[in-house]
């Protein structure tokens, strides 16, 4: 593993509703090495997007959300940076791709013009050079008619085409850190395959670190080097991608794998649901948040939050982790 580009330490995000405060992201610590794709997975509402926004410095600093801990990008603590410094870094040092790329575009300006404008600002390019670089990047992500896409208005492109245009921009900007939050969730699978291919290609070309946020285990299995599994605001397991799928140590990870349908070439492979529901953030039980749904839970689990332990190269937060190499 190469040196850490991003170091997140004890990141907490809480929402204050009247006198009550609800912990949404709970003491998150992890590092992101340069040149890797790291997946952040978990079911809806577990805090993935909040984490992503916090890393980009996009959480509102006033209002009901409180954020603590540190986020270091190349040694600089982003939580202590002024807003205008963060704005300066966005695009250059770090960039983000959202689930719905339509919101990232101004509907009345041609797509190519918008991309070229960003490039002129970030890379201090003159107009013709920015235009040429935009066209080149559009061609690189696979558009057969880059000029046509350049001239199109955002609504004239499909969701997948807009997402690829965003990737083309990232390719031209070469941020050190790219955060992609559910970048293919609103796309069809055939388009998703194209977008994921281009994301991997981008990573290889630029050496950027990518944090790929997804609820889809298939997506992260196909793309990532390392995986972080979140449940109710906490990282419950961190492992190399191959290890996580072959030998999940946390009962929640194992449960997720067993519940995810996989295509078989013949009769279907069985899936088993995880009993119960994800608790809502206002009603988190003490101890391990997964205890009520966990087949391995003991009294200890509902009393005391499990500390993190190492098993081989993985980090697991569980009192009774699965240790042997076994299939869930």
């Amino acid at each position: 593993m190469s040196a850490a580009l991003l170091e997140v330490s004890e990141l907490c995000i809480s929402a204050h509703r009247g006198p009550r405060s609800v912990r949404l992201v709970d003491h998150l610590s992890f590092t992101l090495p340069a040149g890797e794709i790291v997946g952040l997975v978990g079911e809806s509402g577990c805090g993935k997007s909040l984490t992503a926004l916090a890393l980009m410095g996009l959480l509102p600093r006033s209002g009901s959300l409180r954020c603590s801990g540190s986020i270091r990008l190349g040694g600089l603590d982003l939580t202590r940076c002024a807003m205008r410094d963060l704005r300066h870094m966005r695009g250059r040092d770090m960039a983000m791709i959202f689930q719905e790329p339509a919101t990232a575009f101004d509907p009345v300006i041609r797509v190519g013009v918008q991309l070229a404008t960003v490039l002129r600002r970030l890379r201090s390019l003159r107009r013709p050079a920015a235009r040429a670089l935009t066209l080149e990047s559009l061609a690189q992500v696979g558009f057969l008619e880059p000029e046509d896409v350049y001239q199109a208005f955002p609504h004239q492109l499909s969701g997948g085409m807009r997402q690829l245009a965003m990737i083309a921009l990232a390719l031209a900007c070469r941020p050190r850190l790219l955060i992609a939050d559910e970048p293919t969730t609103s796309l069809d699978v055939t388009t998703q395959a194209v977008v994921l291919d281009q994301l991997k290609h981008l990573q290889r070309q630029t050496g950027s670190a990518i944090l790929l946020v997804s609820h889809d285990l298939g997506v992260v299995a196909q793309c990532c080097d390392e995986i972080l599994v979140m449940y109710c605001g906490r990282i419950v397991e961190q492992a190399r991608c191959v290890d996580l799928f072959a030998r999940p140590h946390h009962p929640y990870t194992a449960g997720l794998l067993a519940a995810t349908p996989r295509i078989a070439h013949g009769e279907p492979l069985p899936v088993s649901p995880i009993p119960g529901q994800v608790p809502t953030s206002g009603e988190l039980p003490p101890g391990c948040h997964f205890a009520a749904r966990c087949g391995r839970a003991s009294d200890l689990c509902s009393r005391q939050a499990p500390a993190e332990q190492r098993i081989h190269a993985s980090r697991v937060a569980c009192h009774h982790p699965l240790r042997d190499s076994h299939t869930p």
Partner: protein, 342 residues
């Protein structure tokens, strides 16, 4: 009820949206959202309908429920033509053909308790006395794994999985023979999605309820369906038993779709060539709807729309592709071989 024939039979159904709406304004005589679709569902069978967004799945479902008026074709439900049915007959059919949508939040009224929402269909179809209704509702909730405690709650007080169970319970209360489920598990997290898929299989096995189960997710379809239909641009391009379809997908589009699903197994990573054509704004040709993206396209594909051919000589496996025309043997054989040698 006609017990020997199919429960639902759809014949050459076509629906076009009027041209003046939406982004297709001014482009010819309207957009064909459903084009000459034919299939049948046997009593107690789960028919899985899969396709990408905009392929016409929901429009088809809305035609079957007569929420839209198709311009051509027939829909026979238990032998009766629904499109010709009068109000009384339609009412009767609606009781026996219920629907569950993707988003239970919009399907349930936010200001009504779950109990009130569950009373609705029983009142609507005048089923049971008020006392019996109460019992039926409690039994109906138990069937989907919920207890009577939810009766006095409001939709926002339940989890998404519980809400979708309530919608299924409501669809089951009138005693339907067929449930149309349009992306009913798509908004659910996987751990809960697996619970609902299990429930669908149980209802089919234990109560003999047939489903038209619509999803964009092939892995989900494989879990629940007995037969599968694949839609592409308004057409049913391949129909087969589940095991035939997953063991030997024949239509080039079905194969592309299967290859694109990301497998949750990093040791099975494929550097697959992505399906071309997605990145062009060029309109389709007059021939096969898939021609511009198809790697195996022949000259005839650009000129003529393919007919419905039996795949591998199996009359239950239908493929809308020129490669399976009786006259196109060489290509079909060559492809059969490459699959075997994989």
């Amino acid at each position: 009820m006609n017990t020997t024939g199919p429960l639902l039979q759809v014949q050459h159904l076509s629906y076009r949206f009027p041209a003046q709406h939406g982004v297709f304004r001014g482009q010819g005589p309207g957009l064909a959202a459903v084009e000459r679709v034919s299939f049948a569902i046997a009593p107690g069978q789960v028919f899985g309908l899969v396709g990408e967004s905009g392929s016409g799945k929901s429009t088809l479902a809305r035609c079957l429920l007569r929420l839209l008026r198709p311009q051509a074709g027939r829909v026979l439900f238990a032998g009766r033509d629904l499109l010709a049915a009068g109000p009384a007959e339609l009412r009767q059919a609606r009781r026996r053909m219920q629907v569950v949508f993707q988003d239970p939040m919009t399907a349930l009224s936010p200001r009504r308790t779950i109990g009130q929402s569950l009373h609705e269909p029983l009142q609507q179809f005048r089923l049971g006395s008020p006392r019996e209704r109460e019992d039926r509702i409690v039994a109906g909730l138990a069937e989907v794994g919920l207890d009577a405690g939810v009766l006095n709650r409001y939709p926002h007080q339940l989890s998404s999985g519980q809400r979708q169970r309530v919608c299924i319970a409501r669809a089951l209360l009138p005693g339907p023979d067929l449930v149309v489920a349009d992306e009913a598990v798509s908004a659910l997290d996987v751990s809960v999605q697996a619970q609902v898929l299990k429930l669908v299989r149980e209802l089919q096995r234990e109560r003999g309820i047939a489903f038209l189960f619509i999803s964009h997710d092939l892995a989900v379809i494989q879990q629940v369906a007995d037969r599968v239909g694949v839609m592409y641009r308004g057409q049913l391009v391949e129909t087969a038993s589940r095991d035939d379809l997953f063991r030997q997908p024949l239509h080039p589009y079905t194969r592309a779709l299967l290859a694109a699903v990301p497998d949750p197994d990093p040791s099975a990573r494929r550097e697959r060539p992505a399906l071309p054509g997605q990145l062009s704004r060029k309109p389709a040709t007059t021939g096969c709807a898939f021609e511009s993206r198809c790697e195996q396209a022949m000259a005839v594909c650009r000129q003529e729309a393919p007919g419905d051919h039996p795949g591998n000589g199996n009359p239950q496996h239908r493929v809308k592709c020129h490669a399976y025309a009786p006259t196109a043997k060489p290509l079909a054989e060559r492809r059969g071989q490459t699959r075997d040698s994989e």
